[in-house]
C-alpha cells in the first residue's frame, strides 16, 4: 500500500471511533460521496434548544482517513452552533488528526462536505 503514513492519532480514530453509528431521531442528516474514489459519508446531528450541536455521529464507507476524519469532525462540531460548525475547514480537520498522508487530504474535504450538507438541511427546513 502506498503512502500509508498515518499519524498515531488518525489511526486511533480509525480503530476506535467515538462518534460512530446511525443516530435515531437526528435533527439533521447530511451526505457526501467522492465519485472518484468511491468513499461515502453520512453525518447525523442532534441539536440543543439553543440550536447548538449536542451530538454528532457518522457512518462512513471508506479508507482509514475517511473514517478518522468523519470521527474527528463530529467531535469538533459538538458544542458549536451550526454557523460555527460550518466554518470548520479541512485544514483544521487535518490538523486535529496531527497529519494525514498527502493523498488523503481530500478525505478531510469529504468530511467537511458531509457536515455542511447536514447543516444546509436546517436552512432548507426554514
Amino acid at each position: 500500500m502506498k503512502n500509508a503514513n498515518y499519524s498515531k492519532k488518525a489511526l486511533d480514530h480509525f480503530f476506535n471511533p467515538k462518534n460512530l453509528g446511525e443516530m435515531k431521531g437526528a435533527d439533521l442528516v447530511g451526505y457526501a460521496g467522492n465519485p472518484q474514489c468511491g468513499d461515502t459519508m453520512k453525518i447525523f446531528l442532534k441539536l440543543n434548544k439553543d440550536g447548538t450541536i449536542s451530538k454528532a455521529s457518522f457512518q462512513t464507507l471508506g479508507c482509514a482517513a475517511a473514517i478518522a476524519t468523519s470521527d474527528i469532525i463530529c467531535q469538533m462540531a459538538e458544542g458549536k452552533s451550526l454557523e460555527e460548525a460550518s466554518r470548520i475547514t479541512k485544514e483544521e480537520v487535518v490538523k486535529a488528526l496531527g497529519t494525514l498522508p498527502e493523498n488523503k487530504v481530500h478525505c478531510a474535504d469529504l468530511a467537511n462536505k458531509a457536515l455542511i450538507s447536514a447543516i444546509k438541511k436546517n436552512e432548507e427546513k426554514r
Partner: protein, 383 residues
C-alpha cells in the same frame, strides 16, 4: 504480535540458501566482473554460472539472457527498445498489464505509434479472436502478460505464440512477441520454445530471490535499441557495473524453481477461498480454473479495501487491495475495472497471495480474524 504474511505477489522473502550464495559477493568477491585480473574473472565466472541457470530454466541459450536492474527495466527495455527502432509501430497489449508494460506502451503512442489494449472477460482472460482481428500491417509487437499479479488469471500465452508464429509465416514484417512472466515464473512452464516468445521478463524478488534484479530474455538475432548508455554490459542493453551478488541470487533463485510446490500451494489457496466465501457478502474475483495457485482476490460488500488492509494489519496480517483509496491516482484497480467489476466491488477488493512458507495455521489465523474485521467495518459503514 503474530505476523502472517499473505502478500507474496507483492514480494517474496529471500530464500536463505540464495542469501548464502550471494553473501561472499558483497564483501569478499567484490571485484568488478569486467576487470581482467583474477578477482574480476572469478566474479565474471559467477555471473556466467547465473546466466546458465537462467538460460536452462528458460530453455534458452546463455547469450539470450540479459540481467537488468528490475522487471520494470526489462519490460521497458523490451517495448521501448524494440519499437523505437521501428517506423510507425503498432503494439497490441492488454488492459490488465502491469504499469511497467502499460506505460511504455502509452509512451509509444505519445511518440507517434499506435496501441491496442485488448479487452478481457469477466474472469480476466483475453479473447484470441480479438487478438487476431487487432493485428494490422504495422503491428510490430504483441505484449501479453503470462499471469496477472492482481487476480492470478493465466493468459493463453502458448496459443498466442502459435497464432503469431502462423501469422508471421505470411508476413514480411514479423511481429515480435513479449510476455511479462514475473508472476508466472514461480509456477508455470517458462520454456521460451514452448511459449514461442521473442522476449520474456522475469523478476528476482517474486521468486524468493533478491530485489533489484530482473531478467530480459531476448531471442538471438533480435535487435533492441538501448534506453541507457554506458560501459556496454549486457550487450549494451542494460549497461552499468554488474551487480554480482544480485545476479548470483537471481540465478540461484531460478534454479530452485525446479522444486516448486504448485499443487500444495493450490490446495492451501483453495482452502483459503472456501473459508473466505463463507463470509456473507464475500465474492471471489477472477477464475477458479487457470489461475496461479498462490492467488486469491475477493470483494466484500460494505467494506473499503484500504481500511480492511489496515484492520487486518492491526491483527498482524499483511495483504493488499485494489481499492482506489490505496492508489495515488485515486482510481480503482484498472485490472478489476477491465474485468467489468463495479467501482464498489473494486473499492472493496482484497488480494491474498500465499507462498512457499505459508502454513495452514497461518490461513486459519487469517480466517479467524477476517470476519471480525469485516463486521467492524460494516458497523462503521452502516452497510
Amino acid at each position: 504480535m503474530k505476523e502472517v504474511y499473505l502478500d507474496y505477489a507483492a514480494s517474496t522473502p529471500l530464500d536463505e540458501g540464495v542469501l548464502e550464495k550471494m553473501r561472499p559477493f558483497f564483501t569478499k568477491k567484490y571485484a568488478n566482473p569486467s576487470s581482467i585480473h583474477k578477482m574480476g574473472r572469478d566474479a565474471s565466472l559467477a555471473i556466467g554460472e547465473a546466466r546458465e541457470k537462467v538460460a536452462s530454466f528458460l530453455s534458452a541459450s546463455p547469450e539470450e539472457v540479459i540481467f537488468t536492474g528490475s522487471a520494470t527495466q526489462a519490460n521497458n527495455g523490451a517495448i521501448l527498445g524494440y519499437l523505437r527502432g521501428i517506423k510507425n509501430p503498432h503494439i497490441i497489449t492488454t488492459k490488465i498489464e502491469h504499469e511497467a508494460v502499460l506505460l511504455p506502451s502509452k509512451k509509444i503512442e505519445e511518440e507517434g505509434g499506435e496501441v491496442t489494449f485488448l479487452k478481457v472477460d469477466k474472469k480476466g482472460r483475453i479473447d484470441l479472436e480479438e487478438l487476431r482481428e487487432s493485428i494490422k500491417e504495422n503491428t510490430a509487437m504483441v505484449s501479453i502478460m503470462y499471469a496477472s499479479n492482481e487476480v492470478g488469471v493465466i493468459e493463453p500465452i502458448e496459443k498466442v505464440g502459435e497464432i503469431i508464429e502462423e501469422i508471421n509465416k505470411k508476413r514480411e514484417r514479423k511481429i515480435v512477441f513479449h510476455t511479462d512472466a514475473v508472476q508466472a515464473a514461480g509456477y508455470l512452464n517458462c520454456n521460451v520454445k514452448d511459449l514461442k516468445v521473442d522476449l520474456l521478463t522475469l523478476s528476482g524478488h517474486k521468486i524468493y530471490g533478491p530485489k533489484g534484479v530482473g531478467v530480459l530474455f531476448k531471442k538471438e538475432g533480435l535487435n533492441l535499441s538501448p534506453l541507457f548508455f554506458g560501459g556496454g554490459q549486457e550487450k549494451g542493453i542494460s549497461p552499468g557495473t554488474y551487480n554480482t551478488p544480485l545476479i548470483v541470487g537471481m540465478g540461484e533463485a531460478v534454479s530452485l524453481l525446479k522444486n516448486k510446490k504448485g499443487k500444495e500451494t493450490e490446495k492451501l489457496r483453495d482452502y483459503l477461498i472456501e473459508g473466505v466465501l463463507k463470509i456473507e457478502g464475500a465474492s471471489l474475483n477472477g477464475p477458479m480454473e487457470k489461475r496461479l495457485p498462490n492467488n486469491a482476490n475477493f470483494s466484500f460488500k460494505g467494506v473499503e479495501g484500504e481500511s480492511l488492509v489496515l484492520g487486518l494489519d492491526s491483527k498482524g496480517v499483511a495483504v493488499s487491495t485494489g481499492s482506489a483509496c490505496s492508489s495515488h491516482s485515486l482510481k480503482p484497480s484498472h485490472v478489476l475495472m477491465a474485468m467489468g467489476l463495479s467501482r464498489e466491488e473494486a473499492h472493496s477488493s482484497l488480494r491474498v497471495s500465499i507462498g512457499r512458507m505459508t502454513t495452514k495455521e497461518e490461513i486459519d489465523y487469517f480466517l479467524e480474524v477476517l470476519p471480525g474485521t469485516i463486521k467492524r467495518l460494516r458497523e462503521i459503514s452502516g452497510k
